[in-house]
Every structure is written in C-alpha cells, then in structure tokens.
C-alpha cells in the first residue's frame, strides 16, 4: 500500500466516524425530544396500526433524511479531495482510485447508493408536500413507496455493483 492510499483510508475512516457521531447526536436528541424511539415491543405494536394512522413514520423519515444527508455530505468532502488528485498527476489519482474497485469500497458504495436513493426520493416527496400540498395520507403512502423503491433499487443496484466480486 502506498502513502496516498493509506491517507485515503484514514480520511475514509474519519468520514465513517463523522457519520457515526452524527447518528449518535441525532439519536440522543431524538431520545430527549421525542421521549424514546428505540426498537422496543411497544414501538413494534404502534407500527402495527393502519398505514394512514402511522404519522410517526414521518418522524422516522425525518431522521433517515438527516442521517443520509450528513453521510452524503461527509463523503462528498472526501470525494472532492480524491478526484482533485487528478490535477496533481493522473498517476497519483489512479493509485488512490484503485481502492474504489476493492470489495470493501464496493460495499461502502452500496451503502452510498442506498443513502442517495432514500435522500433523493424522500426529498422529492418533501418537495411534493410543499409544492403540491398532497396532504397527510398521500404523503404517508408516498413514504411507503419511497421506502419500497429505496429497498428494491438499492438491492438491485448493490447486486450490480458487487457483481464483479461475486462472479
């Protein structure tokens, strides 16, 4: 492993650490303001009610939107730095870029895909809520659609990204 590659991995670790810290901050604040949102039996029971009555799903969407947004921003900072190596020398860029094709980085990219999918689709839903005033029930249905699309496209895309490693 070369020095630039090691530096990239250190920076990537910092990005992941920053994401975890942000998740911790959000969880602590959620615990404080919402009075408990852990996966308990009580929560499971509340989630079992009719879809139209599940307004608390919107709160979970809010947390997921924040976490995915912060994760993408953290990666964006690193990504600008690693692409900028191209300006110094194409060889230096290639040297670090090789890491993007490794199995571990491909798994990270699958996570990034899921984050981008959810943040984009949910963001478009929020835009629809603001612009078209679609109302609570349709907004909740849209959230179910956003989640289903994120999981479906996320799994399909992940299989595609990991395919060179799987075959």
């Amino acid at each position: 492993m070369t020095v630039p590659q090691a530096l990239f991995l250190v920076a990537l670790s910092l990005v992941i650490l920053a994401i975890l810290v942000f998740v911790g901050v959000i969880s602590a604040a959620a615990r404080r303001t919402d009075g408990g949102s852990y996966f308990t039996r009580d929560l499971a029971r509340r989630l079992a009610v009719a879809v139209s009555a599940r307004s608390e799903l919107n709160r979970w969407a809010f947390y997921a939107h924040r976490v995915s947004g912060a994760a993408i921003y953290a990666f964006l900072c690193l990504h600008i730095l690693d692409v900028s190596l191209y300006s110094f020398s194409p060889g230096l860029y290639n040297n670090v870029h090789v890491l993007y094709g490794t199995t571990a980085m491909r798994v990270f990219e699958c996570g990034l895909l899921v984050a981008i999918l959810f943040h984009t689709l949910n963001g478009l839903r929020l835009l629809a809520i603001d612009v078209a005033d679609i109302g609570r029930i349709i907004a909740t249905r849209a959230l179910i659609g956003v989640t289903a699309l994120t999981i479906g496209a996320g799994i399909a895309g992940s299989v595609f990204i990991l395919a060179p490693e799987l075959i």
Binding site: A70, I72, Y73, C77, I80, L112, P164
Partner: protein, 132 residues
C-alpha cells in the same frame, strides 16, 4: 391602546420582511431548488460511474475523456456548486437543532468555511482539468 387589527395588519404588510425571516426564506428556497437539480445530477453521475461504467474503470483516462466534453464539464461544475450549497444549508439547519449560542456559531462558521474552501478547490481542479 386599542388600535384596530386592520391598521396593524396594513402596516406590517407594508414593512419589508425582517432580515432573519428573509434569510430563512432564501435558504428554504435554495435548499429545494438545489435539491431538485441534484435529483437529476447526482443520480445521473452515480448511474454513469457505477452502472454504465464499472467503478474500477473510472480511472484518469476516463476523466480525461469526460473533461474534454462540454456536457460533462458543465455537469460536474453545476453538480459541485449545487451539492456543496445543498449540503452546507442542510448541515447548518441540522446543526442548529442540536447546538445553541457560541457553539452553534462556531460549528456553522466551520461548515461554511469548509464548504467555501472545497468549492474554490473543486472549481480550480475542474478548471485545470477541463480541455474543452
């Protein structure tokens, strides 16, 4: 003491929005506007570098070819600006929910500073790399 509500309403309507309200309104619109752009730009970018091209093949020669085309130079420039603007607005809003007072100002200023640096740096990188 009892001025009619109608008079109060008229004066507030004529007065311009307070600075902080206007700032929030601008921020609100910019966040959604850049978000709409990024829905296309980022998803398109991910599609190209992960699905149309395998990520292992997006090496220096791939960049050299792409930054020789006007479409991708404009795409990457707009994406850089929109992503950083969207990111810094979103992060500042999120941070302001969990901090207050001096700490809020320091963290927000740090985020803005980092983002401006990254934008200038990224713009220079694209400017140097573009061969159109």
């Amino acid at each position: 003491m009892t001025s009619t509500p109608r008079v109060i309403k008229d004066t507030t309507r004529e007065r311009s929005m307070p600075q902080s309200v206007r700032r929030h309104a601008v921020r609100y619109v910019l966040l959604r506007l850049t978000g709409a752009f990024l829905a296309v730009l980022v998803c398109g970018h991910f599609l190209v570098v992960h699905f149309i091209t395998d990520v292992a093949d997006t090496n220096a020669s791939f960049i050299a070819v792409r930054w020789g085309q006007v479409l991708w130079v404009i795409w990457d420039s707009v994406m850089l600006a929109a992503a950083l603007l969207h990111g810094v607005i979103g992060m500042t809003i999120a941070v302001s929910d969990y901090t207050s007072g001096r700490r809020r100002r320091i963290v927000s200023a740090g985020l803005v500073g980092l983002t401006v640096l990254l934008f200038v740096y990224g713009a220079i990188v694209i400017g140097m790399g573009a061969t159109v």
